[in-house]
Symmetry: D2
Subunit: 369 residues, 4 copies
């Protein structure tokens, strides 16, 4: 790849670091069909309020799998060709003219939701549910590439003592933090449904937030083992035992104070309502693929239960909390089960698809030493 | 009816007021079948912590209609013979030996849920969702009678300037207060689904709590007219227009900040989620008769919405708030559309059944002068 | 005054409406001493994200009086020469190149706090307590002038059915809304200390938010009369009666559920803690001029009371709530006791100083027809 | 001491365990003067709703020291002769006729506040701030004795795997839990002022509740060492360094998100407000001995800070949370620095007085084996 000066900031006053290539490797969803391709494309241009980031690590989210597999949701939302991916960390190599607080060379992760700033929700400090949100790697070019351009407002400065593999998972960890901290957990019996990466993150987060007992429900033994390794006090395989009975047994008959639904599975959601005690709280993060039939009378109304929908994470309240957990020594390494160069994307997506993995991290600019 | 001294308190130190009959008229569900009968039965005995109340007014709740009609729920819960009814007001005429703060002659209404005091919820101050709750007129003898015995802990002293017809509706009004005040309403666009008595109560309560605009959705024109009379800024008949479009029109495209679901109707619940803005709050009070199919992804999760199940009312936090609204002059008279002696119960239940009514009040001890 | 095209936006792509003068009349604090002068000065220039507003009304805040009188606080904060004033409404007449949602001709009010957007608080959606806040008319040129330039992010579009005199008081009304809505008021006994304009605004706001009873404590009879006219159920002159006794009398011995402290007077703050019931909430908006000695043991700790400091208003959550109250018909006209051209500023400040006034509104571009 | 059957329950149907003495050893404040005496007194009688408990351990609270030393507060509140002490654990040996859920032989601790059940606060589920509260060992006979009688409603069943020394400290630990959990701590920088036993308890509680960093401020080196041993990330001696500077240094300039004031010291309270960031939360548990002069303007109002008074603990919400922390393995043993028989009370109180101790536990019925 030919190195050259960038020459692409919109103004002579924009700053840039040394040599930046004009072309880069990127994983591109080329056509409205399953799959993706590694291609050479232009390094993205930056606007006056944008920064250009050299991607040091990018991790795969369930959303990326939807996109890769080109399911119904992807077909309705995404317009190929598109570089996708939205969990990443890297180094700032160029900044636009109106960038004010991000220096060249900054080590950063990024909030993936670009909020409009003008809608009712944004004007209430609820940017995470902005009604005109645009998502990196979904609605605009993403992070499975050597470089990415994003607005400065989405940059999250990160301490260099956290390597790129940890820095990149701050974004999905933020989903878990936001979900877990919606309601107080101190002294609470917490049941987590689904031990994909976000569910796995939630285990140590709930433990560190004072949960009395964390019970993880998940049909994959591989993931249950990870949950246990991350500190889940109890793990339950719903294919092998009655979830409701087990939760009652483990909670002296009280039931769950808090349920964190991370699976999107309709049966799990129904079970979540069943195991909840009266006055309990259930947060829904996992996205069901269709309508879900619920016993609202017994599951929600008579119980006086609270059902909280969770989308994204607080910008940047959740990021500060996430940083707090990392700073205080929380070790999330066990969740990262696989790492590989971006060129092995085929293997990476296969691992995510078959569930024999935690978080999979890819390196667009070469493996770390 | 023969008058005699009561002689029924469990101890010679219990106090009683003058002459109390031994027998009384009561509406009795005699057999596990539709209907009920007016009968002469024993005036109830009182235990050491109970009070005996002469019922000056008793109003009909939807629950009573289930019981009267002997539907599936009633068949599973109620054991005839039973005097039913749980909304009432009256005068204390006898008190048990351990009654400490309720004098003979006190004018009172009553909380209908008798909580156990020992369960996890009770020990958290959440008696309204006690897991061993017993309901007056459902699990023990009720208020469609000349006298009723209840524990002193359920008594709510009421100012005599509120006549029995108003005093008795404090209980269902409490449902509306509890539902409405679960989330701040000041400056909010509030949509109420269902204009039965509780939905109707909710209209002035929401207005008095600072709602910017109250929109009532209800298929009965009779009830929509009542809603308007009670101050609903907008009324919508879902049989005649598109609810979602109308709500968006009325809210400058923002949608509802708060939805109060008082109907239990599955379509209404689905519409409630549709009209809710991102970050909005929906309280569910109406009890659906079966499972409800919901679009949790778009209706709850992506919106970051809060769904709050509502059961009963705070004991006695809600009662204080209810008193506050009454004290500050809230006029709920329009909700009370019919009044009659208990002996006209047939007519009364027919009015409730056909929906051409608001709240129906019955008088077991004669019509007020 | 000579009319000319503005020619002052920083870029040829900024938009402007017809003829804008180059010079204007403005009230200028010229020197570090009491008083101010009406002068002709340059119409302010606008940056790329700014708008230029023709000021149709500007109202006087207590802060302006501090500035005018040049007290200790003003001496420590303000650097003359300065055009001051921060409550205003007007019409947008020019916009910078990066202004995206505000059209020329828009009728607007403005948030007076310009937040940095980068500090811990701003990144938590708490711009009202930004640690690097700059205040219009205090830290940069203000609104007692024919034109003012402010960042677009501070603009609040206002409906033209509210005349400039009402539009300008949205800002201080917002203080009252923010103070009053920090805690639920439905069914609550609310005591307001201080019936200056913000305390007066709080009266109908508390009433409209469901307060059971509003009690206003204020030594000026003129202002007590205004409080009564605005709906205060009880008014108490602390010079004439014992505040604590009266509050207990008026609340059946319970005490205040909520205290709104709008006076900044040390005695009032102490009384506020005294009249508060156990578990009550007191919001402090009034700014004491020095340290205040408090009985924390009896007033706060044993009571389990909550003391909430209040600064500014939520941006823009409070503005939406304020709009909601205005839209639903709240009439704040009685608070506006005097209106005059800007040139009568001398009289205006004298009225504010002597307390024989509610809110005083000035018109820099001529009285409305 | 002569053993005999109790024969003291008010009814022949009360139950009792085997032989209970008629007389017992108790620490009695005999006269309105400093000091106390070990005496033989009658074993207390129980009412119909009471239980009699054999005290296996009783610990000393600061309140007991006030009583022992007979300071101004004690003189105004306490009426000798009185058996004092209110932190204890033991075994139920007799129950009144109306006791329904506590069996003979139950191993229990107790809530020390006996609430009236009838006041505004009690009827809102806020028994911890009951306005007619009576405190064990202050307003009625206490626990520095071989036996104590208390209402069944105050009993807290405890698992036998926690020895009496741990069971007895649940009560003061509850103060710390209640104080710490008033506001979310996950990801927060928490500063604790005062490392007496409650402050020391707060250290692991805050850590277990997700605090990013716990900073303890305390002038006694002995106690700072204990704080460090219990997990405080930073310890600060205010006699040796500038508290505000150190806190800012340790928090990257942000200041404290949360302050827990456990000292009651006026200087500490003022420093607590200084180190608090804008929008921060300070809980006040420590009771100042007189009025405290505060800079409300800079410390509370401009910051938009929340000051929360803390009294007692939630009944029984806090007890459940406390149990949760103990169940999940929190080790509070380091706080218990001294244990001795009740007869050594002189030494015990001296240790508490001179500050060279954490929690001191006494054994009225002999040291455990």
């Amino acid at each position: 790849m030919q190195e050259t000066t960038l020459g692409r900031t919109d103004s002579s006053t924009g700053r840039r670091s040394g040599l930046i290539p004009t072309r880069m490797q990127a994983l591109v969803k080329r056509a409205p069909a399953p799959g993706a391709e590694l291609q050479e494309v232009d390094v993205p241009e930056i606007g006056p309020k944008d920064v250009l980031i050299k991607v040091l690590a990018a991790s795969i989210c369930g959303t990326d799998l939807h996109l890769y597999g080109w399911d119904e949701w992807a077909q309705g939302r995404v317009h190929p060709p598109l570089v996708f991916g939205h969990e990443f960390a890297g180094e700032v190599v160029a900044v636009g003219t109106h960038v004010v607080r991000t220096p060249i060379g900054a080590y950063v992760a990024a909030e993936s939701h670009i909020s409009c700033g003008d809608c009712y929700e944004c004007r209430h400090g609820l940017q995470h549910i902005c009604r005109d949100v645009r998502i990196i790697g979904v609605d605009r070019p993403g992070a499975f590439a050597q470089f990415i351009a994003i607005p400065e407002q989405n940059v999250w400065p990160t301490d260099r003592r956290f390597p790129p593999r940890i820095a990149t998972i701050q974004e999905p960890m933020g989903n878990a933090v936001h979900t877990a901290l919606t309601t107080p957990l101190a002294g609470a019996n917490v049941v987590i449904f689904g031990a994909g990466p976000i569910g796995l993150f939630a285990v140590p987060i709930a433990r560190a937030s004072g949960a009395k007992k964390v019970i993880t429900v998940e049909p994959s033994q591989y993931r249950l083992d990870l949950a246990q390794r991350l500190g889940s006090n109890v793990v339950v395989n719903p294919l092998q035992e009655n979830v409701q009975h087990r939760v009652l047994d483990e909670t002296e008959g009280e039931g769950a104070d808090v349920v964190l639904e991370m699976s999107g599975n309709a049966t799990a959601i129904a079970q979540g309502l069943q195991v909840l005690r009266s006055g309990g709280h259930i947060s829904l993060l996992g996205i069901p693929s269709g309508p879900v039939s619920l016993d609202l009378a017994d599951g929600v109304i008579f119980k006086g239960a609270t059902v909280q929908g969770i989308s994204g994470r607080r910008v940047f309240g959740t990021w500060y909390q996430t940083r707090g957990f990392l700073d205080s020594g929380m070790d999330l390494s066990p969740v990262i089960t696989h790492e590989m160069p971006l060129s092995d994307f085929h293997t990476a997506f296969e691992l995510v698809r078959n569930g024999q993995s935690g978080k999979v991290v890819m390196y667009p600019n070469g493996m770390p030493e």
